[in-house]
Symmetry: C2
């Protein structure tokens, strides 16, 4: 684990993303396929190895069959709790 997150909030964001995927019972591979990206793409995002921009966030939510707005709300709640 050589990787360090950008911030506490960022860690919270990642936790939420992973939890959401697990909640849906999806694997990184399945999500990656929907996004037409390699599994390492999802792994890196969830591991804080790669950042997500807004549109990618929306795409990721959709790939997980989650409403972007709902996921964003979760993220906001998460980062408020931390920090």
């Amino acid at each position: 684990m050589t990787k360090s997150l950008h911030s506490v909030s960022y860690a919270s964001l990642l936790d939420i993303l992973v939890a959401a995927r697990h909640h849906k019972g999806l694997t990184q591979q399945v999500v990656a396929d929907k996004l037409r990206k390699p599994q390492s793409y999802v792994a890196k995002i969830e591991g804080g190895e790669r950042r997500l921009d807004i549109l990618e966030f929306v795409a990721l939510a959709k790939a997980m069959d989650i409403d972007p707005m709902t996921l964003f709300a979760d993220v906001l709640r998460g980062i408020k709790k931390e920090t």
Copy 2:
């Protein structure tokens, strides 16, 4: 204008960010100051020269005194219209 946007949706996102700032009557410098970043940081974001991750998006919204959720909703509407 050597720069090309990543996608149509991205252009829409940028339009929304700029419009929001103008609506609030703020300059890039003022927003940048609140974020403790140079003016070029904001200029690059708005020019599609630099991408915004989720947390930066939230920070930017707050710097413009806009509710992140509201701004995100605007973005979602914007990218649906396009594409």
